[in-house]
């Protein structure tokens, strides 16, 4: 027995040593890992770079931030609108002003709402083609950036900053003209938008969108989200309804439309625009239960990061707005809550 034991330890000494060395390497590796992370937390949040010939904000963003659309991060931090060869710039590698908040004020994000468009006629809910184009052109030429709702919510959750001139473009309901009039203009000016559809409106009528068009919009930079099933006012209980009937109706409006959009577009719906902008706690409770990240009213105001995500403000763009009226709805900064 003793002989056997001795042999085992003698012959295995090499293996044990190897094992020990390997273990040590593993531990060293872990230590490195933690040290690396610790360093990241203190300094390397920025990267100085000398712009080379051929570099643009977009190529720099691709190279250093892994996202060509993040050129605005470099532009905003360095307070420039473009870069030239030989220029010295700083590339922030981490959020440098979450929520757009500083000691003196905070960013607010305007969210615009459109409903319908027309080539000729206009009313409050119908914006004429040429005027819509003028408004979009204004946004583009003045360096406004149309952001997505996902980007907006990262800002609302105080995870990141947004472009200083961030704006959200939304369209409600699902009329045909969204596809025939608004979509080409949005594409022309490179502006992303969100379409809130009420699923009963997508019914095969010539006046409204069909699901093929909705799918094309969704893939073409117009994020499709929920505007309930029938466009009933979720916030109000009808005279003839009991509380339980009302609650079931509200639940059904949300669950059904969410299901239909998911089925047609193969994606999860995360945001809802309240019909008539109206809501209450019960509606919000159902939205939270259904995994909604937030929802939108039509209160005319811009949104700071600390707004309640289930009662976000949106400003309606009426058909009788001139460019001056339009601009008044683009408030991107406020001091109110901090002074």
């Amino acid at each position: 027995m003793a002989f056997r034991k001795g042999t085992v330890s003698m012959n295995d000494a090499f293996w044990l040593k190897l094992r020990f060395i390997m273990g040590l390497m593993g531990i060293l590796c872990l230590m490195f890992l933690f040290q690396g992370c610790a360093r990241r937390g203190t300094f390397p949040q920025f990267l100085p770079v000398i712009v080379q010939a051929g570099d643009t904000l977009s190529t720099l963003a691709q190279k250093y931030l892994d996202d060509p659309d993040k050129g605005w991060v470099i532009a905003d931090f360095n307070d420039v609108t473009s870069v030239a060869a030989g220029q010295e710039i700083i590339i922030p590698l981490e959020p440098f002003e979450k929520g757009g908040l500083s000691r003196s004020g905070y960013q607010t994000v305007p969210i615009l709402v459109y409903h319908n468009f027309s080539n000729t006629r206009k009313s409050l809910m119908v914006v004429r083609r040429d005027e819509f184009e003028q408004q979009m052109k204004y946004l583009r030429n003045n360096n406004y950036r149309a952001i997505t709702l996902d980007e907006l919510f990262d800002f609302l959750e105080f995870r990141t900053e947004l472009p200083k001139k961030a704006v959200v473009i939304t369209i409600d309901d699902g009329w045909q003209e969204v596809y025939s009039i608004a979509f080409p203009i949005l594409k022309k000016y490179g502006l992303r938008a969100t379409l809130f559809v009420y699923t009963d409106l997508i019914n095969g009528s010539k006046k409204t969108l069909n699901w093929e068009e909705v799918t094309e919009l969704d893939r073409g930079g117009v994020d499709v989200q929920c505007h309930t099933k029938t466009h009933r006012n979720l916030g109000k209980m009808n005279d003839k309804e009991s509380l339980s009937q009302y609650a079931r109706e509200v639940e059904n409006e949300i669950v059904e439309s969410t299901r239909i959009i998911k089925e047609k577009l193969h994606k999860n719906v995360k945001y809802l625009a309240y019909p008539y902008g109206d809501t209450n706690n019960l509606v919000i409770a159902f939205l939270q239960q259904q995994g909604y990240r937030g929802a939108f009213t039509v209160k005319r105001a811009a949104n700071p990061f600390f707004i309640n995500p289930y009662t976000l403000n949106r400003s309606m763009v009426y058909g009788d707005f001139d460019l001056h009226d339009f601009k008044r709805n683009l408030k991107i900064y406020s001091r109110k809550a901090i002074n």
Binding site: V8, I50, L101, N238, L243, N281, Q289, I338
Partner: protein, 367 residues
């Protein structure tokens, strides 16, 4: 025996070696797995390690030094510190900068803590606006302050739920009755809490109960209809016209001949409605659609969407009226509310506000 035991010993030895080898291998593989993480996830960017490159920057070091100083004088300490860190990168051995960063760091911590404590005091007194201001200032100094963020994002938001502690003998139905005065709403409790199918509750369990704040539609008896807006035939609200059309349709269907005539005229009305929609004359389109049966072609869908459209248009005018009213432009407010009633004759809020505005206008004219 001894030969067999040596044989056995050899086997054990080999087994041990193999396991030890496998163990080493496993750890080595783990090491290999971590290796890319080391470089990709946490590694400092290659340029940062390249200390030689620092001397190539002629503008940035001084620019950020000036920025840092300017931020400091204005009291923007977080921003000042960010700028000092950039300066520090170019002058890593300058101890003045390092100590400046350390001093700022401490000042920031103190200031953030002061604002946070003040915020908590306001919050405890129920002064929400003031509390929010303090927590925002905390975050302005210290972006990473999770506690302040929790106040701003959660505690300061109006609550959607309140808690209910289950008492002895409670069932879901009983709680629904107690909380909502309606035992049929038990499903609401089930929707927002994990309650088993039987609906039995264990005393002491905490339930999330939505705080109801539902608006019910206006009580129609409160508002007397305005003489100006008594429904004229063209203006009559939908249900009435619909009902009339419904009965007349039934009457006609008694005689097949007339029913055919009726069908044709339905088609004509339908075409007219579509034409109105084409011309974006929504109100006329709706009047035509309302005289048709919901099941006729796509009348149901068209009617519903047109109603929604008009209602939204009317609401927009209503809101505009409100803002004119608030800025004391009575005539404009009245014009907007009249437009509301033209679009949706039974818009009760507009009717009420219009009545009120007209009365005020008369008073203004008198004095």
């Amino acid at each position: 025996m001894s030969a067999r035991s040596t044989e056995h010993g050899k086997q054990v030895r080999w087994c041990n070696r193999v396991t030890t080898f496998l163990n080493s291998l496993r750890i080595f593989v783990l090491f290999l797995l971590f290796l890319p993480l080391l470089f990709a996830g946490c590694a400092v960017h290659p340029n940062l390690l390249d200390t030689a490159g620092r001397d190539n920057y002629r503008i940035l070091p001084d620019k950020y030094k000036q920025k840092a100083l300017a931020y400091e004088t204005r009291g923007f300490w977080r921003e000042a510190m960010q700028s000092w860190w950039i300066v520090h990168y170019f002058h890593p051995d300058d101890e003045k900068i390092t100590s400046r960063i350390n001093t700022l760091q401490k000042k920031i911590e103190v200031k953030a803590q002061e604002h946070f404590n003040q915020g908590v005091r306001f919050y405890q007194r129920g002064q929400i606006q003031k509390a929010r201001r303090e927590f925002l200032l905390t975050l302005a100094y210290d972006q990473g302050n999770e506690q302040a963020l929790d106040y701003v994002e959660k505690k300061l938001q109006p609550p959607v739920f309140r808690t209910y502690v289950v008492q002895d003998g409670d069932t879901v139905k009983k709680v629904a009755q107690k909380e909502f005065h309606d035992s049929n709403t038990a499903f609401l409790l089930k929707a927002f809490n994990e309650i088993n199918v039987t609906g039995n509750l264990t005393s002491g369990t905490i339930l999330q109960v939505p705080i109801l704040n539902i608006d019910s539609s206006e009580n129609k008896e409160i508002v007397a209809p305005l003489p100006e807006y008594h429904a004229t035939p063209a203006d009559s609200p939908g249900q009435k016209t619909g009902a009339i059309a419904g009965t007349s349709s039934k009457d006609h269907s008694r005689e097949t001949g007339q029913a055919t005539v009726r069908k044709e005229s339905d088609m004509q009305i339908y075409r007219k409605a579509k034409a109105y929609l084409e011309q974006e004359k929504y109100k006329k389109a709706l009047e035509a659609l309302r005289s048709l049966d919901n099941n006729f072609l796509d009348v149901g869908g068209l009617k519903a969407s047109t109603e929604v459209f008009l209602q939204q248009e009317a609401d927009a005018h209503y809101r505009k009226g409100i803002s004119y009213f608030l800025s004391e432009e009575l005539a404009k407010a009245i014009a907007e509310w009249e437009e509301v009633l033209r679009l949706v004759p039974d818009h009760l809020k507009a009717r009420k506000d219009l009545q009120n505005a007209r009365r005020m206008q008369k008073k203004v004219e008198k004095y």
